[in-house]
Every structure is written in C-alpha cells, then in structure tokens.
Point group: D2
Amino acid sequence: MIKVGIVGGTGYTGVELLRILAVHPDAEVSCITSRSEAGLAVAEMYPNLRGHYDLAFSEPDVAKLAACDLVFFATPHGVAMRMMPELMAAGVRVVDLSADFRLKDLDVWAQWYGMPHESPEWAEKAVYGLPEVAREAIRGAQLVANPGCYPTAVQLGFLPLLESDLVDSTRLIADAKSGASGAGRQGKIGMLHGEIGESFKAYGASGHRHLPEIRQGLQQASKLPVGVTFVPHLIPMIRGIEATLYAELTNAGDFERLQRVFENRFRNEPFVDVMPFGSHPETRSVRGANTCRMALHRQENSNIVIVSSVIDNLVKGAAGQAVQNMNIMFDLPETRGLEAPALLP
Amino acid sequence: MIKVGIVGGTGYTGVELLRILAVHPDAEVSCITSRSEAGLAVAEMYPNLRGHYDLAFSEPDVAKLAACDLVFFATPHGVAMRMMPELMAAGVRVVDLSADFRLKDLDVWAQWYGMPHESPEWAEKAVYGLPEVAREAIRGAQLVANPGCYPTAVQLGFLPLLESDLVDSTRLIADAKSGASGAGRQGKIGMLHGEIGESFKAYGASGHRHLPEIRQGLQQASKLPVGVTFVPHLIPMIRGIEATLYAELTNAGDFERLQRVFENRFRNEPFVDVMPFGSHPETRSVRGANTCRMALHRQENSNIVIVSSVIDNLVKGAAGQAVQNMNIMFDLPETRGLEAPALLP
Amino acid sequence: MIKVGIVGGTGYTGVELLRILAVHPDAEVSCITSRSEAGLAVAEMYPNLRGHYDLAFSEPDVAKLAACDLVFFATPHGVAMRMMPELMAAGVRVVDLSADFRLKDLDVWAQWYGMPHESPEWAEKAVYGLPEVAREAIRGAQLVANPGCYPTAVQLGFLPLLESDLVDSTRLIADAKSGASGAGRQGKIGMLHGEIGESFKAYGASGHRHLPEIRQGLQQASKLPVGVTFVPHLIPMIRGIEATLYAELTNAGDFERLQRVFENRFRNEPFVDVMPFGSHPETRSVRGANTCRMALHRQENSNIVIVSSVIDNLVKGAAGQAVQNMNIMFDLPETRGLEAPALLP
Amino acid sequence: MIKVGIVGGTGYTGVELLRILAVHPDAEVSCITSRSEAGLAVAEMYPNLRGHYDLAFSEPDVAKLAACDLVFFATPHGVAMRMMPELMAAGVRVVDLSADFRLKDLDVWAQWYGMPHESPEWAEKAVYGLPEVAREAIRGAQLVANPGCYPTAVQLGFLPLLESDLVDSTRLIADAKSGASGAGRQGKIGMLHGEIGESFKAYGASGHRHLPEIRQGLQQASKLPVGVTFVPHLIPMIRGIEATLYAELTNAGDFERLQRVFENRFRNEPFVDVMPFGSHPETRSVRGANTCRMALHRQENSNIVIVSSVIDNLVKGAAGQAVQNMNIMFDLPETRGLEAPALLP
C-alpha cells in the first residue's frame, strides 16, 4: 500500500486526486495539507467525498510528508520548488502537478512565471511525466513534473507527425479549448458563472504559459526546428479540453498512411485512443477518464493534416496522469485505479 | 460471475448500466438488445465505452435472454410487460427499470400509461425495488420493479416523517427538479439544447406519471391517508434531481428530535446520507454515484419541515439502484461496483 | 429628457440599467459612480456597451447626483440609506434597487441585514415600488424602494389569491429558483462556473432575506394573517426566476373561476401575462424582458392551487421594474423603453 | 411601412426575425408561412412573442407573398430556389436566409447540397448580402442571398488582410466555434441537451457546407489564389460564434500597421467593432446584437496574425444581417431596428 501525501489539496486538482485515489486498491492518502483550511474535514469541503475519507486538511509539515512514499503537489506555481530540496533530501518521491519543474530552460520559466526559479538542481533532474514519451525515465524518477493540461492534449496529437518527420515543423497551429475547471478554484470575477456561462472567447491569445511547455515537448520530438502557435479558449462547461491541430504535410501522398502511423504509435498505450479516420471525438467521451482520444481529418485535396484531440483536463490533463505516473513509479499496472469508463452523458 | 442481459440498451439508462457494469467485478454483460440498432457495436454508439466492451446490439431474443442470470429492462413502458411472462417462465430473474411493474393498481397504471396492463400476474408478484424499504423482499424476488427517479428522491425524503407519524400526511408537497437526461434519448424538439438550455420551467404540473407511484409508496409508509402534490421541473443540466419536500409537523416540538429520526432511519443504509441540519445538498455531490443525500431545514418558528433530497437520476434514480438490487438479489455486498465517489466538479 | 444618475453601476443590475436606458428615448444617463472603478469607461468593463456610451465611472458625488432628475441606486445594502437624507433634501427623486427601503419594520430589517437602519425617516416615506400594487403612490413618490427579484415573482403570483380571499393564508409555500446573476458580480468561490455549473441546490432554506419582504407584501394584500414558507434554489444558468407557488383553496369549487380571477386582476397590467390554464411558463420567454408570465395548475381533485410564475431577475426583478417605476414617476407611458420582446432562444 | 412576408418561420431564424421586426418602426410582418404549423398562432409556438403578434402561420401562398414589399426566406435549402422565379416575376424583393443563392458556381452548390440547382438564372443575379463588401449592389438588388453564419464571422476577419494583400493567401486557417442554435430547431438526437450539454467537439472537420462559401468570398477579396482550411466546432451554449483565424504575414514588419489597417477598413461600418490590439472578444458581448466584434493578436516574434472574431449567429449571422440588408434595400438608416445593445450577462 503506497502511503500518499497531497500538498495543497483544496483546488480542483486536489479533489480529483482524492476522488481517484478513493478507489485505488494500492494507495492510501495519509495526509493532505492546506495552509488556509487546516482542520477542515476534506469531506466538508467536498461533499462527494462524504463517507470516503475521514481525513482533515493539515498544516504543511515536511516531516509528515517525508514519511509518505509519494507526495503529490497540487499547488499554485512557486510552492513546490521551495519545498523540493528538503523533500528530495528526505528521499520521498514526488509527482508535482504544478508548473514548477516542467520547463528545462529556467530563463524561460522565470519569464513566464514572473519569478526566478529557486530549485535549479531539481529542475534539471525532474522527469517530464508524459508516459507516452518518457515511461522508462518516469519509472526511475524521484521527481516527476506532471505535464500541463493543454500540453498533454496538444503534444499527444502532434507527436506522431513530428516523430515521423511528416510535416513542416515550423508551421504548427494548436487551437485549443478548455472547460472552466482548468482555471482552478479561486474567487475571480472572470470565472463566475455569470461571466462565462453562455459565452465563448479566446484568452491568452498573445501568449499563454503553456506555450513554452508545448514548444519544448514538440521540439524534443522533432529533428527540425519547431514553430508553434497556440491559442487557448474558454468553453462554458466544467471539464474537458479539445485541441484542433493543424500541420502541413511535407508530402501530400503521406495522407494515405497517416491513420496507420497514429495507430501504430499508440497501439500499446492504454490511455490513448485513435478513432477511425474522420471521427469527431467529444470531450464528454473522456469525462472523468484518463483517456486522450483523437481522430484525423483531411479537407478535399488539402495537404493540411487536422487532428482533433480530447482529454479531461482534470484527469489525463492533471490528476489521472499523476496517478498513472505513480503507478509507473511503483511498478503497478499502469491502469490501476484508472479503469472506469467516462461519465456519459 | 453473474451473466447479465440488457434489453433496450440504447437510451441513457442503458449506457449507464454499461458504464457501471464495466467495472463490476461479479457481473458480465453477455447480451444487449436493440431492435433499431442491431449489429451496431455499443462502443460506436457510446464512445466512452471504447476499449471497455466488444459487444454489439442484437435483436431481442428470448432464448438468449433466458440464458442469462439476470436481465435488466431499460425500455420504454409497455415492452417489459409483454416479454415478462415468457421470461419468468424460463426462470430468469429480472430488474425492470421501466414503469411497467411499479404500480399495484392496474387501473391507475392503465390511466397514466394509456394502455391496459398485459401482465397482471407479474404486476402483482413484482417487488418494488426500493432497497431502503423492501430489502428482504428484493433478495428473494424473481422480478424487481426498479423505482422511478423522482419517486426515489421523494420517497426517501418523506419516509422517516411518515413512518414515525410526525406530519400531517394529507398535506405533503414535493417540488422536484430534474436534469434533462431524465427525459431519455429521443429526438424531441422540446429537449433540444436550443430549447432547454439557459431556461427553467415546470412541466407536468397538472399531473405526472410519477405522482401515482409516489403516492403508492408514501401511502404504504403511512398509517393515515396520504395527500401529496408533486410538481416536476426541468433544469438546464444533464444529470441530477433535487426534491424540496414540505410537510407540516403535527407537533412543532418534534423539530428537536427530527434530525435524530432521520439519522437513525438511515444509519445502516449505504446509499443514504443525512447531512447536518441546515445543510444544502448539491446534485453534483452525487453525480455518477448511487447516493441519495438529504438535509433538513426549519424557517424561524414555523412548523413546516423542509427536506432537500438529491440523487443522480441515472444512478440512484435508475441504473445504480438497479445494480444495487442485483447485488441484493445475488447476495453480494450491496455496494459492490458502486463504490466510486461522485464526479465533482 | 430625464437626466439619470446611477450609483454603483459595476454590478449586473448596473449594466442592465445601462442596457435598457441605452435605447430609452426619454432618459439619458449623465453620471454613473463607482468608488472602485472611477475613471474606467463603462464600455471597457462591459463590452456590449461599446459604441453606446462614452461615459466613465466617477467617484460618488452628491452634488453631481443632486443635479440629476432621477438617481438609481444599484448598490449593496447599507449604501443608499446613508446617502439618502442628503439626496432627498436636495430634492432628487430616487429609485433604490437595493434592499435598504423595502421593509417597513426596521427591527426586522436590522435583524436580516445585520446592521441598524440609518434612515428611518425615509424608510417610512419610501414607496414600495411594485407597480401592480402601488402605481399611484409611485407616481407621487420621491423615493421608491424597488422590490427584490424573488418578492416580485412570488407576490405577483399570490396576490390574486389573497386579495380575493380564496386560500388559507397561513399555509403558503413558495418554492423559487433563480439563475446565478441574482447573486451579483463578486468574486465568490461559491458562484464560480466550476462550482455551480451542472448542479442544482437549495440555499437559504432556513431563512433568506427575501422572506420578510415577501411576507410584508403578502400580508398587506390579505385580510387574514399570512404564514409563508419560502425556499430559494440556484439554477445553473444566468438569468431567470421561476417560482412555483402552492396554496390551499378554502373552497375547492373556486377552481372554476380561478383563471378568470387572475386574468381580471392583471387585465390592464402591461407587464403581467396570465397564460392559459395548465400552461408552463419558461424563464427564457421573459429573458431580457420586463414581463412576469404565469399560469395556474390543479392536480386531479386536489384543492391545492399551483401557480408557476417566471420573470427575468435582472429586468422585472430589478432594472426593468426600476425603469417602469421611473416611467410612472415621470408620467411617461409605462412601457416606454421596455417594449422589446424577450430573447428566445 | 414595409410590408414583410416570412416564408418558413418556425425555426430559430424565423423567431429571431419576428423578435427584431417586432420593434422595427418601418416594417410590419403581414404574413408568415409554415406548411406544418399553418393555423397556429406564432405567439403560441414562441411565448416570448405573446402580446407582440396576433399573426398565425399560414400555408405558403405565392399570391399573398407577392403582395408584400419584401419576403424573407427562413427555410431549409432547396425551398427558396423553387419559389424564386415566380416571386421574382411578381416583382417582390427577397432576402433569402437559406443557402440557395449564396454560391455562384452551381456545380459546387450541387455537390455540397446534394441536389441540382433549380434556379440558375437567379443564382447568377442574386447579390451576396455582406453589406461590408457589397452595400451598393445590395441597395439595388431584387434578390439578396444572406450570408451564412460562419462565413460572416470568417470573411469579416480575413477581409482586411486579403484586400491589403498582407498575408500568404494559400495558408489561411479558420477554427470556428458555434452555439447550438446554428443547427436549427429540428428533433435530432445529436442536438439534444443530453448529448451536447457539457461537451465540446469538432464536426464537419473533413468538409462543411460553409467552406465553399467562405472560399468564394475570400477569393473575391484576394488577388492571389486562396487556400483555406475551415473547422467548425459545437459549443455547449445557444447563441454565438467565435472564429479564430490564422494567417501568415508576408512581411512581419507589417504587424506594426495591422491594427490601423483593420480600424480603417471598418471605420464607417456601423456593425463591425475592432477592439484594441490584444483584446479578447466574448460572444456574450454581441448576444442579440447585430455586431461583429474582433481583435488582433501576435505571439512573441511570430509572423502569424491571429484574429478573433465574434458574432451572434442568429443576428449578424442570420436575421439581423437580413434586416440590415432590408434597411439598405429600402434606403432606411442601416441601423434602424438594430440599435439595442447586446444582452450581457
């Protein structure tokens, strides 16, 4: 039984970890911290957990966390990097769901997150936890940087194209859309139901923090330099990301084998589902599930490949992928605790 | 391993049964019928089931169903009653999620469902499957009539009051609200997103089919004659029922012990959760879960008891309760396959 | 041309006043105040007003307001009562959309609003601005207390019953539901889209500030003592209130003439629409319009009258009714500026 | 007073025409036809119109339509083209909101709409009614083909770039998203609230009927050959389209003057609003209004121009633009009847 600690469990990522771990047969949450809510029962904040947890939020305490086998960070950026050296020294393994250890170039990190990075040593050692790319490194890692939600949906959709060198890597476009839970659980006017219900908009169109993370991941998969444009949008719903990806095939004749390339790439991946050519994945088909579902399209005789890729931003885009990483790190079957189908309708 | 058949699995109740049974360790769906979709893979109709089922819809076939240990009917009313005599004769056990066997007074049934009842023998023998009331009868039943969604939420909330004879049983009011999935998956203009999104209304306010079912259940719990007014409403969301119940305490002094009465009534019920006095249950706290969550309220010195009761109409109001009944019928732990917390947010 | 001032225009009630007044041929907004947003163009906060207003928010300034013909207060409670004596002395007329002057019993006011009332003189003189009840008093009033949203929907539906002494006035039940805009535009976690989307719940079930206002209004219409239970609920949508009202007919025979009683009561009311008996008013049918639409129901031989009453909480429940009151106060046609049909779908 | 006829008024476009015309001071609807609903009062089908129209749907009747000054077609494709020769011969003027007369290449039309075109003469004479491009031709036209919803949002956003020859016209990408009302008011399972609520997906990604219309319009604006990829998506809301457009600047230095190019292009357009560089237009900011609102973005040093363009698909994307066209055709001020601000929130 893996003894799990969660730092910063009051947000949507935190409650999602608790939801998934509640039925995980090999893991048990032994402590969950929140500075602001210390003393409050988690089931009082999240009534769906009534009857599932007796646990209360506690003050962050390195000693207590150090006694865990695995600690998840579900904190805003800037928190994990400060606690990491001490925890690493204590030998704990960590999956950090925040952005602190996702970027290798710390100048870029500092520029996008507005503060200098305080743990360069662990930024270098951290393994970027996209299992479809780095499964073996994850297995041996002490610190896994869990990918962002958009980067997960976008990278998985572009990877087969870049790895096989099929497209013009300098002209990638990712038009992505997310439900409101991606913005977290903070009292911002802009995220009120009255503000975002029955409306749709782009945001961060001039530059979003997930852009450098996407670029880093795509560059790693590509022999040639990558140029990518990424525009996120806000959907008036709670869970789900859809990313429509556009890339220009170098050789239009490659369209014929494209479906096979994708299917082969993900044949052994338990959480990536390539639908038949011309399908339209719906975000609801992955609601609550750790699946990335995608499909390919071509318009008339165009040489533009269109990929539509969907995930649940809180699951494959956050807590589910974190548990998948935990399973890998502890040599459990990768799907353990993540078997249930999505909630549809 | 219980061999399960499903008749009429193309609706929301059908896909919900499939979702729940996909991870039930002691049951396996061996056939699912649909006249209109015979031949279609269930995962093609419901992409959330891709990778979970190889099954395709087949033509209804009594012989094949008779080879099952348990058959769920997820059909419109009028179907189950016609097939029941033959299936019962074959010795199969059945949980009928349709309305065919819920009412004992077949004149009332005929009046509300617009056709004569064709299986009076089994209407009499059928056990009304509200486990919190009829657990022992369910255990031995060959045919269980799975309760309607509104009747589940309304009965559970009123039961402690009527069983303890605390209220004026002639003045019960149930103001209930449901998400759109309760209307099923049929191409009706009135259920389009464009028609019901961003809007709210009562419907069936002059009389709804669940009224006689509610009245029958409440009358059974009450020594005195029951008079109940029931108004359903349509919420612009997919899953969830909230019922606000109003009853007049015979003795206002009883307010002090009311919370205890409710807690005692449901102390051993795995799927009924009485929250602290004055709480407000949210439908999302039971989304995807088999729980009925409720709380009590009093306004100033009023002698009106207010009960707010929530369920997921597709789970405790349909497929989840059906699986709970199956667990009881097959002497499994009642919570088997129904342990996962609700999906929140 | 009526010179209009608006105090506290950054909330939903403020933007709604601006939207309506933008096309009102006889009124012009000459100043709008907001302490927090002084200097900001209103069209920058509310992009739907781009091209309609050049105005910017300014610091509250009694002299400037005193130069207006009419001032609307769209402030949280506690603000208007402090500024009122000075404004009244200056001879300005005011429609207060806040709760400050709605209750006549200031002890009750203090109890529900958590502070002593600071302008008892004007609380006494203020006219409660429900035009269907107090049209003549409104015409001559210097200070009009614009009714709350729930109280508007609930009172209009109960009035014909109480005024005609047809029901047991001690057993009134109002089960009301509102969209999220009723909670205003403040950064509360509980009003995030992620918290209230796809969910439904009661709130304030043990007592809500609109209860005493409803009781006061109903009592005024009734010869006999009034007892009313009022439970509000939160609908996952933005605009709209539906109130389902339950009352016990003293004489069940009166059901036959009930529809006529309602139609006669509102025959000359431009903003109350009584639908045919047995109809189901939808909130979308009044979205953006100043209409209260209602219908009557009876279940079988019950003596319970059911009234379903809908309004747009921001229009007939706030800004629209305020403009209706302005029209009355300035002897304009009552419908001026309020003629457009609701936005459906 | 313009005497208006509407053919096929039972859909969302029809009710929207009625809503707008209800307050148009210079037009009056004198007949509205519907084969299926003949005899039904329009206010019975659309309760928001109660009190605004006495009109009932009538059988289509050319003589009656010929007596109108202007006829709007709000029919599925294939209807208008059959009635057009007779109506044109009668001298009536027509604004056709269907797709029948939008494409000049009738082979392309036949390919996308699955039937041969039956009125080639009028297909040639019809004026494509995008006022920002063809105002003068519209003024004198007898038959105006009202643009599709997506084509309106997409063309307006691309026009300044193509007209000024600033971008690579062969690499245009339009990622567009629409609310559900765009699919019309028909009882399709795929448009149920239960199917599309809380979900997001692309559709028609391999080819959508609006693609050739978009291509035709863009080609007309461009000296060089146009290549455009267009992917529509379904948003879980009712009204609104957002199109995010991507184009590659030929000369990255042109970014500096881009905002000015857009502002100049639309300076005199009453219904196009160019927001400050870097803004994010929301669909709610145009809900119910005839405005197209757009903004420009650039990511770091990229040479990709990003345009986000929003409209209300039922207004500027259909009925509002049709009334704008009517105003032009009858020499009225172009904004007549279209002055009200959008409904926000």
